[in-house]
Amino acid sequence: MPKPLEVTLPSDREVRVVRSFDAPRQLVWDAHTRPELVTKWMLGPPGWTMPVCEMDVRVGGAYRWRWKSQDDGKEFGFYGTFTEVNEPNKIVFEEHYDPGDVGGPITSEPAIITNEYAESKGVTTLTVSMLFASKEARDGAVGSGMTDGMELGYARLDDMFKA
């Protein structure tokens, strides 16, 4: 059964997304760290494919993700390195935006993404924390990629209503 997506703002530069899955933690971890599984679900909206998904899952290992639009052939992606790998509990990586030919601003400082996996009674709760170098970096990311837009959009919305 699909679970609602929770979005919160622990700090000014941070966005947290929480989602539960009816599966053991190891399986949810595998689905996030094995390219042959990642490419089956992390596809974004209809009409996009994920032609590049390379992941060397170890501390200091690199990853590269790229999406391609079937409509106009345009591409964009994310890349970076893993800074902490604690299977199947926690993974931390730096994320750089690769504008490809979709465009959008390039920020020199990467975002730090932390995925934490907690299991209880066969249900795994995934917590994704995205920490941006600055408010500007977060603002830049809002106008860019396809996949991060939701969290960032909500951050903006919450900001707006806090005013």
């Binding site: 997506l5 399986l27 679900w41 596809l43 996949t147 837009g149 939701m150 806090k162």
Partner: protein
């Protein structure tokens, strides 16, 4: 202006606490520049600068016929921004629903997984 350019203007206009406070004030009703400047430790020209940004983004309009030229909140760009956010929320939800299906499929074949692991 394209939809994307309008969104850029909207989000840029919202990326400032003073401008968000101005919008929050205008959400309660129209106000003159002087009334808007009062709660802030800011000059009227400084407030006018912020209002220009909000006007360019279409978030605020001016009633030039009225003597005090009251500013009014225009909700349409905000609605567009919310629609945009909702679209991206759907994208992630689509991703996670695909992941739900994949996890169910992987669990339906546990025997095979166990054999290959042992």
């Amino acid at each position: 202006m394209t939809a994307a350019e309008r969104l850029d203007l909207t989000f840029a206009a919202l990326a400032d606490p003073t401008r968000r406070a101005i919008l929050a004030r205008l959400a309660k009703g129209s106000a003159s520049v002087q009334e808007l400047a009062e709660p802030f430790d800011m000059s009227q020209p400084a407030i006018s600068k912020h209002l220009k940004v909000l006007e360019r983004a279409g978030l605020v309009s001016v009633d030039i016929d009225a003597q005090r030229r009251p500013r009014r909140l225009e909700p349409k760009p905000l609605e567009e921004a919310v629609d945009w956010i909702e679209r991206y929320r759907e994208i992630w939800e689509q991703n996670y629903q695909r992941l739900d299906a994949l996890l169910a499929e992987l669990q339906a074949k546990p025997a095979k997984r166990k054999r290959t692991r042992k």
